[in-house]
């Protein structure tokens, strides 16, 4: 009898102990946030961190310190802009920290490095990615139910660019394409060619350049001989800076200059100075957008203008596209936990698939992309850098027509 009572006592304690472990884990909602706060991509990492910080701060102000009764813990870890460290961080988040959601990392290189450790894990958490555009990532991740991409894929850039030009200047023009031999150029070139041709343009020059080349003039000389109407450049930012300056010096007299990601970056704008005039670019967000506030959650997702104002007050700076993307992604993750009162990935996945909000970076509804099952915030805006009366440059929105703030201007050199 005594033996039996002891057994019951031990069994009871065991049940209590087992119950206690998940109870304490359930008290915290853990977000794994790999950010590049040092190394080559430190500018991206700072933006990613700012976006998440702002989201958590707004959440606490609007909803209090907890989400569905859990405290919020963001585990910021530095990728050091290093792929090997990113792999190690992802393993740590999944195996050791057992985070509920991963948001990041920033930039295509780190994001691509993060795929294998996440993909190989059976119990991988929900992964929201607001910072990688390379479609190589999409191919590696595949149609995974727990992956949510919250930025544009690289092919969206080219589709948007060429649709805009077809609408604004018509098809049938001659296009010269320049791309670099690095990961960036290789990830973009096939889709750039595809949409140039699909939209009815004549690809008269298709030039490969070496990443980090000391001189692009040989390429520009060959392009000048083909007399294109449009120069289309798909190179990463460092090369884009040198190439932009060399294009101005080369006096190519090409009416339209199209860039990919670089034209939206203050880094490129500051480095090239007056040479940025007339370049068009694509982005998911620019200051001055007229998106309305969400009707259900106007405090978490205010209008783009109000959100921008709040950001400027907090950071004393103009918000960047990554910052707004990270903000909206983090708020979505918090809303998912609050709405479902759960951190179970199946429950969160289902909620994320069904939700729809009007955020400062656009509609949050996830749609299928070429391969990925969940894609949001991929709608792109085409803008042109134009010099204004005071001598300063601004991004004039030229496409789509409903949000345009000005007209596309042909370059005069």
């Amino acid at each position: 009898m005594r033996h039996r009572s002891n057994s019951i006592l031990f069994a009871g304690l065991a049940v209590l102990a087992i119950g206690a472990i998940p109870a304490s884990a359930q008290d915290v909602f853990k977000i794994g946030a790999p950010v590049s706060t040092s190394g080559r991509y430190v500018a991206y990492g700072a933006q990613a961190k700012n976006g998440i910080d702002m989201a958590v701060e707004v959440w606490r102000k609007v909803r209090g310190d907890k989400v569905a009764g859990r405290s919020i813990e963001v585990l910021f870890r530095d990728t050091q802009s290093n792929n090997a460290i990113t792999v190690s961080l992802m393993n740590g988040y999944i195996q050791t920290d057992k985070v509920d959601v991963i948001i990041g990392p920033d930039g295509s290189n780190a994001a691509a490095a993060a795929v294998p450790p996440w993909k190989k894990s059976e119990n991988r958490p929900i992964w929201i990615m607001p910072g990688g555009s390379s479609d190589v990532i999409e191919k590696e991740v595949g149609p995974d139910p727990y992956f949510f991409h919250t930025y544009a894929w690289s092919y969206y850039y080219h589709e948007s660019n060429m649709k805009a030009f077809k609408a604004l200047v018509g098809s049938g023009k001659k296009v010269a394409l320049v791309y670099s031999d690095g990961a960036y150029g290789r990830a973009h070139v096939d889709d750039a060619r595809r949409y140039i041709k699909e939209m009815g343009y004549d690809l008269v020059a298709d030039e490969l350049v070496r990443e980090g080349s000391a001189d692009f003039n040989p390429t520009l000389t060959k392009i000048r001989a083909r007399r294109p109407d449009i120069l289309y450049v798909a190179v990463q930012t460092n090369d884009a800076i040198q190439l932009t300056k060399q294009i101005q010096a080369a006096r190519l007299n090409i009416p339209y200059l199209i860039g990919t990601a670089q034209a939206q970056l203050p880094e490129w704008q500051d480095a090239v100075g007056d040479s940025q005039n007339c370049w068009t670019g694509v982005t998911t967000w620019v200051p001055g957008l007229s998106y309305a506030a969400d009707k259900k959650e106007p405090k978490l997702f205010p209008s783009a203008a109000d959100w921008e104002k709040a950001w400027r007050e907090k950071f004393k700076a103009v918000p960047e596209f990554l910052e707004v993307g990270y903000y909206a992604s983090t708020i979505l993750a918090l809303l998912a936990v609050e709405a479902t009162k759960s951190t179970d990935r199946e429950v969160l996945r289902k909620w994320l698939e069904e939700q729809q909000y009007q955020t400062p970076v656009g509609d949050s509804k996830f749609e299928k992309s070429r391969i990925a099952l969940h894609q949001a915030f991929g709608e792109m805006i085409v803008f042109q850098r134009q010099k204004k009366a005071g001598g300063a440059f601004e991004s004039v929105l030229i496409y789509p027509a409903q949000i345009a703030t000005g007209k596309l201007q042909a370059c005069t050199q």
């Binding site: 490969l208 000391a214 000389t221 930012t237 040198q242 300056k245 010096a249």
Partner: protein, 292 residues
């Protein structure tokens, strides 16, 4: 349009940049027998110096050039006294590790101080050009070439006609004999290392307006500079100029005359270098180098 004159013009201007990039390394090796793996970071510091003077004070890079050359010389002297002097007689691997480590440390300090953002200066001549016949000459590249010519001629003049220059050559040729002649070899080493860093700072100034500045800009330049110095012959200034010309012409002509050549240019140029080194293992104007 015949592109040969344009190709020659581009190659000559690029050769000026490459010469400036490599000549400091060549001098440093010729005298100290140490390949300074932090040479690229000296270029990077020169570029940032020009950038900040341009951005904060509006100083044209050409005006800041003398200031940064002096600063580069002083920094070189300090680095020599604080670090290099300690490993002068150490095995080569220690010297390599020290300079490589210094380079990495400087690079990371630059990242912490200035972030990894790409930057560039924008003096008017960086993006202006002239058409001479059918040949387009970008003024920024022409200015870079002129700076290279001035610096290399000044270096040669110093080595040939100044007392310290002659002493430097004496140390480069025979350290033991130079010591017996009463030359303070330690001082000459510090001087040479300082001049070598000053030349790198000058390269950085030029880089600031024709290329893109990041904390990582130095390493690819170091690789090219080493290739040029080995091709030209270790320790030979004339050989370095020839090496730079070979690399620049190889790259530029590959870019112009081979389909997708711009992507392959560096590879083709390096194959050319390997070919020359197989035929002449000491490089084009190499000197015998004592090994320990």
């Amino acid at each position: 349009m015949d592109i040969l004159p344009q190709a020659i013009s581009d190659a000559v201007l690029l050769a000026g940049l490459y010469t400036l990039m490599a000549v400091g390394l060549s001098l440093g090796f010729g005298v100290l027998r140490i390949i300074n793996f932090a040479q690229g970071e000296m270029i990077m510091l020169g570029a940032y110096g020009a950038f900040w003077l341009f951005t904060l004070l509006g100083v044209d890079p050409l005006i800041s050039l003398p200031v940064l050359v002096i600063a580069g010389f002083a920094l070189g002297w300090v680095i020599f006294s604080g670090f290099i002097a300690k490993v002068l007689d150490a095995p080569h691997i220690n010297q390599i590790l020290l300079t490589f480590g210094l380079g990495l440390a400087i690079q990371h300090i630059a990242i912490i101080l200035w972030t990894g953002n790409a930057r560039s200066t924008q003096p008017a001549y960086a993006t202006s050009s002239s058409l001479i016949g059918d040949v387009l000459v970008v003024h920024g590249r022409l200015v870079a070439f002129a700076v290279a010519v001035v610096m290399v001629v000044a270096l040669i003049a110093w080595l040939r006609w100044s007392e310290t220059g002659l002493a430097t050559r004496a140390v480069a040729e025979n350290r033991g004999a130079a010591t017996l002649m009463g030359i303070d070899t330690r001082k000459i080493y510090a001087l040479s290392f300082g001049v070598s860093c000053a030349l790198s700072a000058a390269t950085g100034v030029v880089v600031s307006f024709i290329l893109t500045i990041t904390p990582f800009v130095g390493f690819p330049m170091l690789v090219k500079a080493i290739a040029i110095v080995i091709l030209g012959g270790l320790g030979s200034i004339t050989g370095t100029v020839i090496g730079a010309v070979v690399l620049a012409f190889g790259e530029t002509f590959a870019s112009y005359y081979i389909p997708d050549g711009s992507g392959w240019a560096e590879g083709i140029a390096f194959v050319l270098i390997i070919g020359i080194l197989i035929l002449s293992p000491r490089g084009i104007r190499g000197q015998a180098v004592e090994t320990q």
